[in-house]
Amino acid sequence: MNGLTFRQKTVAVFLAIGLVILIFELIRRRRLREEYSWLWMLTGLAVLVLAVWDDLLAALSGLIGSTNPPPTLFFFGVLFVVLICLQYAVRISDLAVQVKNLAQKTALLEEEIRCQREDRSKASL
């Protein structure tokens, strides 16, 4: 089983380092919250480790039944992206419940305020 070629390795390392730097920069500028960054960081670091560690990539390729290491790198990259999407779906579900509760609270408070105004205007007559 052949490992990655020098060019493949270089591209993978640069992309992984670029991803990690980009994520860090987004956190620094407060555009990305730390709680959503860890899976992205993990993705970048996993690609970096697999790109430089030929034996680990070969072992993982054998584990998933692949005879060619480059698709293994791609496979794990996609796997992490799927996990990230799932994390977002969970978070969106939480946010949907929070938005629903807020909207319901708004409707209830609006009616309460209307009632109080009505009572006050009746009392002032």
Binding site: V97, K100, A103, A107, L108, E110, E111, R114, C115, D119
Partner: protein, 271 residues
């Protein structure tokens, strides 16, 4: 001295300005006083104005949240008012408000926690499309298999719920969109007593059903199946976190408030 109504009618409505006056008139024509709250779920027509003119309290969602969320807003309102029971009725005029007393009776007498109005107990061959008929058969079968008892109309939106039952439905486990068979199974799992009562239903004459269109029906079937499956595999303690007997209830609105003033000056609700 007249007692404050013990019951609240929750009417979720979205673009139902044409049918709503008839529904509200039917509710206010009942021989006992009931409070009525219409949930304006992001309507683009005169739904809220029409409901206010008819004498109902209107709670307006700032945007569309879904049928289940609209019902739940009504349950939360009922909790703040300390109502003994809540009736849910559709705004499209398909249910007959005259059936409310019969629906309420088992809950008001503490013989049940949930009373479901069933169109099939009135007419077993109630006319409906092929897809909907297949759906009803399927969900009826699923409920029978899981709950080991029969409910003829598991998707009915015409129900009466006791305080414990509607407080349970005010929790986050209540679905935003279609609280149908999955919720019935959840309520059964949480040991609520469910009964059915005959309730006439007429075909929709105006407006658009939330189940209209193939895409909506496919999504409904998919969502219901996933939700039922999740309900089956969810541990019972997830539903029993808030014991039925300890439902907190805020005191009723003080006399003299606009809520009390809005109540129609008729006799009291059934005991």
């Amino acid at each position: 001295m007249k007692r404050a109504p013990r019951g609240l009618v929750v009417v979720p409505a979205r673009d139902e300005a044409q049918t709503l006056p008839g529904v509200l008139a039917g509710i206010f024509a009942l021989p006992f006083a009931l409070d009525v709250v219409v949930i304006d779920d992001g309507a683009t027509d005169q739904t809220a104005e029409v409901a206010r003119r008819a004498g109902a309290v209107v709670l307006t969602h700032p945007f569309w949240l879904g049928y289940g969320a609209a019902l739940q807003t009504g349950f939360k309102y009922a909790l703040s008012g300390g109502y003994a029971w809540v009736v849910t009725i559709d705004a499209d005029g398909q249910h007959d408000p005259a059936d409310i007393p019969a629906l309420v009776a088992p809950v008001a007498q503490s013989a049940a926690d949930i009373s479901v109005g069933s169109r099939f107990l009135v007419d077993p061959a109630f006319p409906m499309g092929f897809a909907k008929r297949c759906g009803i058969w399927f969900f009826r079968g699923v409920f029978r298999a899981l709950a080991r008892r029969t409910i003829t109309d598991p998707t009915s939106g015409f129900k009466c719920l006791s305080r414990a039952a509607y407080a349970f439905c005010a929790r986050d486990l209540f679905p935003h969109d279609y609280p149908d068979t999955d919720m019935m199974i959840t309520l059964q799992k949480a040991h609520f007593r469910i009964v059915e009562r005959p309730a006439a239903m007429s075909p929709r004459r105006m407006g658009r059903s939330m189940h209209a269109g193939a895409a909506a029906q496919i999504y409904y079937a998919f969502k219901a199946c996933v939700s039922i499956l999740a309900t089956v595999f969810r541990e019972s303690h997830a539903y029993l976190g808030e014991p039925k007997g300890r439902t907190p209830a805020a005191p009723p609105a003080p006399a003299g408030s606009c809520e009390a003033a809005r109540r129609s000056p008729r006799e009291t609700a059934p005991a």
